[in-house]
């Protein structure tokens, strides 16, 4: 699906910005951006997007609750992480994980895997 609406959850502004740019370049819409857990949960609760890119670690806090909230709503997600040893939040082992830094092509493949 082209032109999907995305929630980008990323605590590093510059990375968030380039992710947004990548999504735009891939023909998607980075409709929402959240830099912390609380903001992300608010956006998820409000809805209005098709998929999420979720940093596993937000300023030292695991983003598991966001992943749970997304799952509850049946919204597909892609994890992103800066950690080599990937610790995917409990119950979300099936999700795709993108290791930072990732390329636009990596992101494209991951999105394709979502089956939007």
């Amino acid at each position: 699906m082209s032109g999907a609406k995305f929630l980008v959850v990323e605590d590093e502004a510059i990375i968030a910005m380039s992710t947004e740019d990548m999504l735009i370049a891939l023909g998607h819409d980075p409709a929402f951006t959240a830099e912390n857990l609380e903001r992300a949960l608010e956006i998820v609760a409000a809805g209005g997007f098709d998929a999420a890119l979720l940093d596993i670690n937000l300023n030292g806090v695991e983003s598991g609750p966001v992943a749970d909230a997304l799952a509850e709503r049946g919204i597909p997600l892609i994890f992103t992480t800066g950690y080599g040893e990937i610790r995917v939040p409990e119950g979300h082992q099936a999700a795709t994980v993108l290791e930072k830094p990732y390329t636009a092509r990596d992101l494209e493949n991951a999105i394709a895997g979502l089956g939007l």
Binding site: E12, M17, S18, D21, N59, G82, G84, K100
Partner: protein, 655 residues
């Protein structure tokens, strides 16, 4: 032979000697005239298998049987018919009073183990006898002679005496551990059983060709010969015998051919040595020793002297060896005890069913118990069930395969403190190889484990930071190069941003990644862009400590503001100034960036990375509000961020 001479009809050799002798010139007179008392007694004498003799008449003239004929040595057969005094000048002083007592008391006399120093084979011999003197009463009732029966018990006496001496020696040296004491004790005892004025013990060094006399006993009449002497002192023959461990027996060195070599006798005279006995001491293989006895007068050395010296030498060597072993064992025990006591490693021993039999202070310290509280308990008391099973498994492995096992277990101290011990355990056997238990050395690796955990975390964190930084660099690159600007321009901007990022990391590294103060951060960021224009930049504010992530974001934002000012703003002409001020208001930090005196500011037609960066990064990363005012007289940027996550206390303290 007539009937009257039947008493002479038997008696073997002596019987025939008496029969054949011509008695007519002797005080006995011809046998036909011998009184009945003599006849009867001689009849008994000659027919006895016990050494028997008759001392007859006032002069105690001798008649004796075959068994007795060996007693006087070479004085037989001349002793027959001779007076006792002539036959026994050497022992007369002893037996004369005994004869006298028989005459006086008219009773028999008997003695056992009587010492008689006899001159039998050219030298004085120490002999012992059991014998009796029985009066022979004549026809008129007077004592006419003395019947003597007896036998030599020298061998028995000497053997028993030797046994007693050796027993005494064993008793004397058993408690001793000092070599000198053992030697002194042994030599003193030996002096009571050997007719010598000087006795010593020497160790022979065949390489140096010397004898070292460690200790020496003398009766006071001879000088000590302690010290090391060359074997050549004794001449080539005796020296050679000593070297090869032969018995050296010199009855009289003045006449012994073994001392004929020039100089030997002179040297012997100088140390008062006339007669000597040297017996090799049996001892440990590889070393030789000798025990020697010296006398100032000629002396005949007997086998029993040699045997006594040999027996003493053997025991002395054994005692010395035992003493040395005990001393070494004690030293070794002390050394190992010290290692045991002082080792940082935990050491313990246990029975084969894993009950602790000993433990060192390191073990006590680790378990937080006294040794008495540990010894006797099972090691199961100090570890979780699972770990105890592991020790059982390791024990089985050792029992099956032998050797040592090396494994880690969790151990619990008295306070419940959990430790990780790396245990190296071996089966303990006695000298015959029988299993007696096990001993183990353990090291508390709890700290090492924790360190390894910490290190693993650190490495992971480093990996995370590197990846995160690379992602950041990727973001910078994507943002910088997407603007459609001149490639050279973009590259320069990218480089500057990388330098700014690096500078922010440098700052954090200097602060050990615990954060950075706002003043330092702004100072560093401005100086990088604004070299040479420092006086046109004024920065002031209180002490505010920023957490690492906020510091990096803010540093990047300040970099963008400074770059913008240098390119288009107040620092792009010679006169403009930048004023940066900050203060804490309640729980919020306010930073004001104010440019003035620069070219007229025009609001940019589209947001460049710098602007986006400032707005987004600060808003997102710091969770604050950013206001960018492109006022014509100069750009103003107001940053208003909440303080949580920052060091509030120091921020307030700075106010």
């Amino acid at each position: 032979m007539g009937k009257y001479l039947r008493f002479l009809s038997a008696g073997g050799e002596m019987g025939s000697r008496i029969r054949e002798a011509d008695w007519s010139d002797s005080p006995f007179g011809p046998p036909q005239g011998w009184p009945q008392s003599l006849r009867s007694t001689l009849g008994i004498c000659l027919r006895s298998s016990i050494p028997t003799c008759i001392y007859w008449g006032e002069e105690l003239r001798l008649l004796y049987n075959d068994a007795w004929s060996f007693i006087p040595g070479p004085r037989h057969p001349a002793a027959l018919g001779k007076p006792a005094r002539e036959v026994w000048p050497d022992i007369w002083h002893i037996i004369e009073p005994q004869f006298q007592s028989v005459y006086d008391s008219r009773e028999g006399f008997s003695t056992t183990e009587q010492l008689l120093e006899m001159q039998r084979f050219g030298h004085v011999e120490e002999t012992y006898w059991d014998y009796s003197f029985t009066p022979i009463i004549g026809e008129d009732g007077d004592i006419v002679g003395i019947l003597n029966q007896g036998q030599e018990v020298t061998q028995d006496v000497l053997q028993r005496r030797r046994a007693e001496m050796l027993l005494a020696l064993d008793r004397a040296v058993r408690p001793l551990t000092a070599a000198d004491e053992i030697l002194d004790s042994a030599l003193g005892l030996l002096a009571t059983g050997i007719p010598a004025e000087r006795i010593g013990y020497g160790e022979i060094d065949t390489e140096a060709d010397t004898i070292s006399v460690a200790r020496c006993w003398t009766d006071g009449s001879m000088a000590h010969v302690s010290g090391t002497h060359p074997l050549a002192f004794f001449g080539s023959e005796l020296g050679g015998q000593a070297r090869t461990g032969e018995v050296v027996r010199i009855d009289d060195m003045e006449s012994d051919p073994a001392t004929a070599e020039p100089g030997v006798r002179e040297r012997f005279r100088a140390i008062g040595l006339r007669s000597g006995l040297v017996v090799p001491a049996a001892g440990r293989a590889g070393t030789k020793a000798a025990i020697f006895a010296h006398a100032s007068q000629p002396r005949s050395w007997h086998d029993h002297h040699v045997e006594l010296l040999q027996a003493f030498g053997k025991r002395v060597r054994e005692a010395l060896f035992r003493a040395r072993m005990e001393t070494e064992l004690q030293d070794s025990e002390r050394r190992f005890r010290l290692i045991f006591e002082q080792a940082h490693d935990i050491i313990f021993t246990a029975t084969i069913d894993q009950r602790i039999t000993a433990c060192n202070p390191a073990a006590c310290a680790a378990l937080e118990l006294e040794a008495e509280e540990i010894i006797g308990r099972s090691i199961a008391d100090f570890m979780p069930e699972k770990d105890f099973r592991r020790t059982r498994q390791m024990l089985r492995h050792k029992l099956d395969k032998g050797g040592t096992t090396n494994y880690d277990v969790t151990v619990i101290g008295a306070s419940g403190r959990e430790m990780h011990w790396e245990i190296n355990s071996t089966l303990a056997t006695d000298s015959e190889g029988h299993l007696i238990g096990l001993h183990a050395i353990a090291r508390d690796i709890t700290e090492r484990r924790a360190f390894e955990e910490r290190q693993k975390l650190l490495i992971n964190e480093l990996n995370h930071r590197v990846k995160n930084t690379l992602a950041l660099v990727q973001g910078l690159a994507l943002q910088t190069f997407r603007e459609g600007r001149e490639p050279a321009d973009a590259r320069a901007a990218f480089e500057e941003r990388l330098v700014a990022l690096a500078a922010a990391h440098d700052l954090l590294t200097r602060e050990k990644w615990e954060g950075a103060t706002l003043a330092t951060l702004i100072d560093d960021s401005m100086r990088a862009v604004n070299r040479g224009n420092e006086r046109r930049v004024t920065a002031s504010g209180g002490h505010v400590q920023l957490p690492p992530k906020a510091a990096v974001s803010l540093a990047m934002a300040v970099h963008e503001l400074a770059t913008n000012a240098a390119k288009y703003g107040a620092l792009s002409n010679p006169d403009g100034t930048v004023t940066i001020g900050w203060h804490v208001e309640g729980d919020r930090l306010r930073i004001d960036w104010r440019e003035s005196g620069g070219p007229k500011v025009e609001k940019p037609t589209r947001k460049g990375f710098g602007t986006r960066m400032i707005e987004r990064a600060l808003a997102a990363d710091l969770g604050g509000e950013i206001r960018l005012d492109f006022a014509p007289e100069g750009l103003c940027c107001s940053i208003d961020v909440p303080l949580p996550g920052m060091d509030m206390d120091t921020a307030e303290a700075a106010e």
